[in-house]
């Protein structure tokens, strides 16, 4: 018996719990926190042995969201038809509701407890519906956002990179009353949203709308300025900026490291997607092989199909379960006619007169789990075969390009390091956020990182204690 005097203890049946949180809300120690350390009582005993920070958060959709969206609150408002209020609830935590309504990888839906009954609530579709309302009633929303804006503090924040992390950080900073400038290497703000994700998944008008709201709130955009090339980091930091945030993302494609790279018809996915998205005249024909298993690989395959490729095959080295791409994106790609082949590794690119003619592949079997929890792929000796191809596009993942920084500030993975208060070591007033810190991640994770850094920038500028 764990607690003296207790005869029964409550046990939660996970299959039946609807996470209504009544038990949490009505627990006496929840209502009166000062009772928790009361050593002589049952609750004192229980609470002194509970790590409150590690306690499970309810509801699960809220707990799963990196942005901490109040999912139940806005779904409840949508149920009674109050779309404007729902949208303002979404807006409290999410600076890019339109973008998230289209391409978020929705961890909330995976966590939804309704999913264990029939199907999870289509939370992303609901957000998209609310975001559509915002696009139709822009003035109404702008009015409230301007009301929420804090008075000007007279300090300048410069953000490098106009991707999800930079935009989220810019939105949060401008709402806190800072003067914000976002510079970007591309001509269009949006980062990967504009240059990496094709328009059949995320229409350009949605990105333009979300960026337009941030622009209307007073954020200044400086397009086509590449840091380290057009302007040095020291100069940006010197030019009357009180804080600088690096949100440069991860834009360097990993390469295959097999013989035959550099042949005509061998591309990497970011170059390809950038060309497709900037409406350069891209034409493809014949058989296209896409190597990789992430969302970029699926986007590339679906784009290639739309550009006129006769056959598109995605080659991935693990099995379907391990594939990092969103499940529904893979489904859609297969439905459109993309072929996906699993458990294959590229060995050699076959070339003829400097052009690609095929790819030699080796079969793979999955061995035991590695420390990251994924099964380790092992080559099967002698199983090599040749897949003919006219074009090979690799989508193996990306890494950040941060050569403008000191070696001290770059980790062994090529990402930017930062200390507990978010600052890059060796630079005063320089912060970093997004994929440049974490390596390639998802839109919401990058946005969450941008939001956190906006808070850290404020703590730094206003001299507040570290949280």
């Amino acid at each position: 018996m764990a607690v003296e005097g207790r005869t029964h203890k409550p046990v939660v049946d996970r299959d039946l719990c609807q996470s209504c949180s009544v038990c949490l809300r009505e627990c006496p120690a929840e209502l009166f926190p000062e009772l928790r350390p009361d050593e002589d009582t049952t609750r004192g005993y229980v609470y002194s042995n509970t790590d409150l920070a590690a306690r499970e958060v309810f509801p699960p959709c809220f707990a799963a969201c990196p942005l901490g969206q109040q999912v139940r609150d806005y779904v409840r408002l949508l149920e009674v038809g109050n779309v404007k209020e729902a949208l303002l609830v979404i807006r409290q935590d999410n600076p890019l509701p339109g973008v998230c309504g289209y391409i978020c990888h929705h961890p909330c839906e995976e966590a939804c407890i309704r999913g264990s009954w029939d199907d999870p609530v289509s939370i992303r579709e609901l957000k998209r519906y609310a975001a559509q309302y915002e696009m139709d009633h822009r003035g109404l929303i702008m009015e409230t956002l301007i009301q929420r804006k804090e008075p000007a503090r007279g300090k300048k924040v410069v953000i490098v990179g106009a991707g999800p992390a930079g935009l989220a950080c810019g939105f949060e900073s401008v709402m806190r009353g800072y003067e914000v400038t976002i510079m970007d290497a591309l001509a269009q703000p949006g980062g990967m949203l504009a240059g990496g994700i094709p328009s059949f998944r995320l229409p350009r008008s949605v990105v333009d709308h979300d960026v337009g709201i941030i622009r209307s709130l007073g954020v200044r955009f400086l397009p086509s300025v590449r840091i380290g090339q057009d302007v040095s980091l020291r100069q940006v930091m010197k030019d009357d900026a009180d804080a600088v945030v690096l949100a440069t993302g991860a834009w360097i494609d990993l390469t295959l490291d097999v013989p035959g790279e550099g042949a005509k018809g061998y591309l990497n996915c970011l170059d390809f997607l950038d060309a497709v998205n900037s409406a350069q005249n891209v034409k493809l024909s014949g058989r296209v092989l896409v190597v990789g298993g992430g969302n970029a690989a699926i986007d590339t395959a679906r784009s290639a199909l739309r550009l006129g490729a006769e056959q598109v095959i995605v080659v991935y080295r693990r099995s379907r379960e391990e594939m990092p791409a969103n499940h529904e994106e893979v489904e859609a790609a297969i439905k459109e006619g993309v072929e996906v082949q699993y458990l294959l590794a590229p060995k050699r690119i076959l070339t003829e007169n400097g052009g690609v003619t095929g790819l030699e592949l080796v079969r793979i079997e999955l061995a035991d789990f590695d420390e990251a929890g994924r099964r380790r792929p092992v080559l099967i000796e002698g199983s090599e075969y040749i897949e003919e191809a006219d074009v090979i596009i690799t989508a193996l993942g990306q890494r950040p390009g941060v050569s403008f920084l000191d070696v001290k500030a770059i980790s062994e993975h090529g990402t930017i390091t930062r200390n507990a208060s978010g600052m890059v070591p060796g630079y005063e007033g320089l912060f970093a956020a997004g994929d440049a810190v974490s390596g390639p991640s998802t839109v919401v994770e990058a946005m969450a990182s941008g939001k956190l850094v906006a808070q850290q920038v404020m703590d730094y500028l206003e001299g507040m204690p570290r949280r």
């Binding site: 609807q18 996470s19 209504c20 949180s21 009544v22 809300r25 009505e26 509801p59 139940r72 779904v75 409840r76 949508l78 149920e79 009674v80 038809g81 779309v83 309504g101 289209y102 939804c112 407890i113 309704r114 029939d118 199907d119 999870p120 609530v121 289509s122 579709e125 609901l126 998209r128 519906y129 559509q132 094709p198 328009s199 059949f200 998944r201 995320l202 229409p203 784009s303 199909l305 739309r306 859609a332 439905k335 459109e336």
Partner: protein, 101 residues
């Protein structure tokens, strides 16, 4: 009013089969307002009363009753003193305290 929209029917997720044509435009339109309201009502954390009985058991004045035929919950305002316990404990947030006219 207590909303008892039933949550037990099955419906395909998201209600839309995307990708009809293949080009660079997105073809699945956002939900209509009826679809959105229906989909939102499927959330177990929303306003629909599920007649879980928590309010009835905790009402100090026995002003809340359960219809023995339909299982619906009724609040008899003639006996309610307005303490607000039911609104505080309702796991669905289906009861709100409204200022008396």
């Amino acid at each position: 009013m207590i909303n008892r929209s039933c949550v037990r029917e099955k419906r395909p997720r998201g209600s839309r089969d995307s990708v009809v044509e293949i080009d660079f435009a997105r073809h699945d339109a956002p939900m209509t307002s009826e679809e959105a309201q229906y989909e939102a009502s499927r959330c177990l954390g929303t306003v629909s009363c599920e007649a879980c009985d928590v309010c009835r058991l905790l009402c100090p004045d026995l002003a809340i009753t359960r219809d023995s035929l339909t299982g619906e919950i009724h609040i008899d305002l003639d006996y309610c003193k307005g303490c607000g316990i039911c609104a505080a404990v309702c796991p669905k947030g289906a009861i709100t305290m409204v200022l008396e006219e």
